[in-house]
Homo-oligomer: 412 residues x 4
């Protein structure tokens, strides 16, 4: 027997590609559709409205199709309240719990639409009907008695629409090509950074140790000093090599000014960690005059917060490194709040970690020498991204220079 | 004024390339050498002996040259006792502390040579002269009062010599070429595994989630069942996707049998984690019959220990994941003890982490689709490595099949 | 002043994504649209019909928008005859000439629709109104007096629609992920090959020398012997290394059975070429018993034609290599005719060259260790492609085995 | 029965690693050695001398070992004249012919040492004893009656020694790491270019189309205008996209200034080719004022010769493209003569082709976004190379700027 249900969609559903995706998924899942109403916006600025009957051979199939369409913003004609079930114990949640996308989301509780706070990909929604609050929360943080949303009923996702105006950032991008005009793109990114700055927006940098190895540390330190960075996310390696370079002029034992290994240099990174352990922390090492320059130094001097997340490949690590990764995630979440632009340079691990915490409307710029890494990064989370296949060692100096030129600090 | 000192070397110093490296480094550092004695082994099995006078323009330079030669096994003619200094506080160690290589190392204490236990790259050496014991220890684990070796005096490194016989494994390898005869190499690796097994050696597998995504999980599960794996190192992702596949037939929401995304599949990995949280642990989930197959299931059934190390990009994570990376490192070290072969498949992070803990005489097989990852992996630690540019999805099934054929379980 | 024109589209224009692309491009180019008629197919099998008014700020802009929409299959309401201009001299063609896509194309001449023969990407259309024939021809082959189509007027492109049924091949694919279930995909490709074979379709293989270096030559030779290959496209390197292997057991001097370089082996590839030069050709070398096995041997024995196209990096080359690349292109075009499946393995150069000659409805399977190569390949020409990130050395043996199993030649 | 022969070596055979390589190869091939004399240079500037007896289990084995050692510069104690055999027909050469390395080589004829002219990898040596001349020649160019050297007897290879002084260029390099200080290296390359220029050396550039796509064309055009390029090697794509950009502001239809595809832009590359066909050649198009800027324009204006080698993936091609690859190789050889520095940017195919023609003492700088490409390039031919993992779009502007700064044209 055929089961069916009516749904509706609204917005720029044709030119944002939502309609196409909807048809694709219904057909991919072996379902069927009939178009009941289709009021297409006559001009490009008009929103469209569609009502469709979705059909499938059985209830189970229909439900899974509707669950998929739900994530595209489709909803039943009449929306009921969310279904809430209390967690039986800490992290023991009701089966069939709702998992979030990173798009803006609302739930219906007691007949009222409530926005879901702290939205992030793959979270659960915990609702307090009395306080009329709904919060997205990771599975591991659900406590006994929390009221968890089960199923899609009463949940509404605002699927992002394609921005009307032309943008440097690609919308729901795909392939990353290494063959793009680097200098032009870098100039645009500088412009974007200056605009965010002007609007009082927050800028985050996620960086890998290659920034030091490729000699791009001076450029990043300069950007921090000039006030273009509001928070830094990295690991033990970036901080250690930055400090090693400040103390010994080497990075992983290599002389940055010549590119050659320095004899005895293999000890330097461990000596650098030891000096910070002796001082107590990076901040104290700066205050005591142990460190006198570099990325971490500028962060301390400019009061730019940094989150150094631990990884199983860490040596040492530095006392500032958060070795428990779940604690580090929370620190990242705390600091990422309110960011409107994230610059991810030469690190897959930390970039994915930060990307996981981003709502879908944050702009991201991803720079990596490996096109496959970029593709992986840009598949996640954000709907507006630029990917640049380049090495940190040429990208960051060109960006810093563009920032100087465009901000009027330096003549071209 | 020119400073100089005599040193000596012994062993297969010519054909292992040690002599060449020594000359290179002296010249690279602007030093000078004079050959005083050079008794070259007449035939290829004879060890050679060389005595050289190393000279440099000042004491500082000479010391750093000698420090470098020390790591190649060169030592002063007369060796004095190690210089020991007590740590002033926890992790606050004397300046100029000795940092270990991962080659077998001995120290001289009270005129006697003592082997350094638990040797690992970039550790310090802590000595107990009374007990005549010397142990390698990470910086972060040195406690107040520990007697730490300072400088190279009294430390002897046994730099590895090139094995006489032909070997599948490359010695101090370099470039990794994607264009090598895959099937032939895989057959050799199977042979090597069977030989290690025959000699009672221990085999470790380090694996990434691509093992599941590429459909190689059945092959790895089979290898565990057949008894070819003694310990498994992985992260939250491998275990989660393996369990997701067992519970829902998908991996990250993709139907492994068709390669297509399954509708609603995006929830599966979170549902999988939730089920294990409900059961309490992977082991309990196996015992309760929640999981009925796959890599983790076979590990539990065969009592193969596994270490799941946390990472900041983790979702969940599973209750078995060790979220503090320093605790995870210790667990890895504990389990890696006594391994004679490590198979690293499709994970850079975990492979580097395991590689960091390996003494230089453990054989490693590294498999990755990205030649640059292999080069990075094979630069570390071990002196005997095979690198194969391949995807897990074709490599592991071919390896499992070779093991069956060569062990006589199956006819070709 | 605003200029505008009405256009119409027909077919599965929504679920094939054509409508979305159309809106995108109009907006990207700063144009405007108004929907006049939109008869959407009520059910998924119904074709839709749309009539739109496209507007732009000036004639030039409008023309370039319409030119772009033309390639999506949109056409003016009333179609006039093509505009033909005679070429003034050999290769000297009228400005504004029409350049083809690789989709099926028709032109209107004397009020009649005529299909364009030998369609290929980036060709011109030469029309003979008397004979009622239209042929796609490369720029370099247009002769004085040829009547060349100028502008889009009178040209109709049948933009490919998404196939209704589920397919292994992706439609207008994008990103290539290395993490896909290899064995499953390989089994499907084998199935596809067997189906093409059953229907009497033609199968082409494009291969690079890595097939030999990775030891996959036996698998490919077997596939030729079993009759699964109708034409082989390659370069001097594949043929030379294949013959070198047959004559000396090495490939570029490396012993395929051990993976080690053979001493003296560096001469082998030149010696191999010399032997074929002595024999006169590969065919003669097979007939004289100089070559007794391998890929080229099987081609000769099975009368499978091969095109060996020259490249500037060639040593020798073999007498069979076509050193003029334009002559080689023509030979490729001749042989590619009628192919319904092309298997491209481990060669970017030759795969792109073959891909350039393919009409958009030929299925292609691309195998390469480098995901970026695959993305580049799959961006070209065809609308139905599978990309597999794998090495030839594991892929081809698994494929050959699947062909044996599925065709019933061998038990699993 | 054991066969043996005495050989001798001279030079910096220890610190250049030659001795190590020699021992390695003897052992790898199952041979044995006895050291008869070993006069090691006491100080680093003294040459060493070694006499060894090489032994093997049979004559065949011994011969192949000696053949291998020959390429390292080892030679029998008494050297006889080369063995010459006349070619029986065009390209039909005597079996066992000698194949050259790209190191300086001499042959003994009538008791006299004669240098081999035009040495290049994998050539044969043709000798004219009457004129006392020996010339390296490709297999395909040996004519009937030419006297060809057979076997190694009478041939002496001067294996390159490691340069005494520190060098930016690596000697017999291996692995290429993406993590090197880019700006520092680029400054050094600029310095090297200026030094070559000062000494009147010749500089060649080999370039791929990514130079245009990434917007680095202005930098390269500038370098040509400033006189830093003496010859350009490229293919149809680089020239076409450069001209397309000059004519239409796009490269492969993409607007370089914005990075976005231009509507109608897909025709531009074909239109560009058509315009050059109409003019007759690139030179004529410059003279007629059709092209007014860009890389090819500057070449014509500065009389910098260029070789555009054809490839089977070419569209068009431009009338200047040499479509016969063997003719193109000869043109490359002609122009490469006397070059002392070659800059290879973003092209594997053309770089390998040029590299094949280089004697081993030419310095090469290789720039590519793909580390695997660099490794492949640097394995070939030259003994002094720098590999930089970077994209053309950031590398060339930084290099051009460094040239300006270091030459005093511009202030930092």
């Amino acid at each position: 027997m055929v089961e069916s249900q009516e749904i509706e969609l609204q917005g720029h559903i044709i030119d944002s590609g939502i309609m196409t995706q909807l048809f694709d998924r219904v057909m991919d899942m072996g379902g069927n559709f009939e178009i009941l109403v289709f009021d297409i916006g006559k001009e490009k600025t008009d929103p469209s409205y569609a009502r469709l009957r979705i059909a499938a051979s059985n209830k189970e199939k229909l439900r899974s199709i509707l669950s998929e369409l739900h994530r595209l913003g489709a909803r039943p004609l009449e929306v009921k309240d969310v279904h809430l079930v209390a967690a039986g114990a800490d992290h023991v949640v009701p089966k069939g719990f709702y998992t979030t996308s990173n798009h803006p989301t609302q739930i219906k509780s007691c007949g009222e639409w409530i926005p879901v706070e702290a939205i992030e990909m793959d979270f659960l929604i915990v609702v307090d009907p009395a306080l009329k609050r709904a919060v997205a929360r990771p599975l591991g943080k659900v406590r006994k008695g929390d009221l968890v949303v089960v199923g899609e009923q009463g949940v509404n996702v605002s699927y992002p629409e394609r921005p009307r105006e032309q943008s440097t950032f690609e919308f729901m991008h795909g392939t990353v090509s290494p063959e793009r005009p680097s200098e032009t793109l870098i100039a645009k990114i500088a412009k974007e950074i200056l605009e965010v700055r002007k609007k009082g927006g927050k800028i985050a940098v996620v960086g890998g140790p290659a920034i030091i190895h490729t000699g791009a540390d001076k450029a990043l330190a300069g950007m921090i000093r000039m006030g273009y960075v509001d928070v830094l996310f990295a690991g033990n390696a970036l901080a250690t090599h930055d400090i090693e370079y400040n103390l010994y002029g080497t990075s992983l034992g290599m002389d940055i000014s010549t590119g050659n290994p320095v004899m005895g240099g293999h000890k330097h990174h461990l000596y650098a960690i030891s000096e910070i352990m002796r001082a107590g922390s990076i901040k104290k090492a700066v205050e005591k005059g142990v460190i006198t320059g570099g990325i971490m130094y500028e962060c301390v001097k400019k009061n730019v917060p940094f989150v150094l997340a631990g990884s199983i490949r860490d040596d040492g690590p530095l006392p500032d490194v958060i070795t428990d990764v779940m604690v580090a995630q929370d620190a990242m979440r705390e600091q990422i709040k309110g960011c409107s632009l994230v610059l991810m340079v030469a690190t897959l691990l930390h970039s994915i970690a930060v990307g996981n915490c981003l709502p879908s409307n944050v702009k991201t710029v991803c720079v990596d020498i490996n096109p496959a890494h970029l593709t992986k990064l840009m598949d996640r989370g954000t709907t507006q991204a630029i990917g640049i296949v380049s090495d940190a060692g040429t990208f960051l100096p060109l960006l810093a220079r563009q920032l100087e030129i465009q901000s009027g600090c330096v003549q071209k």
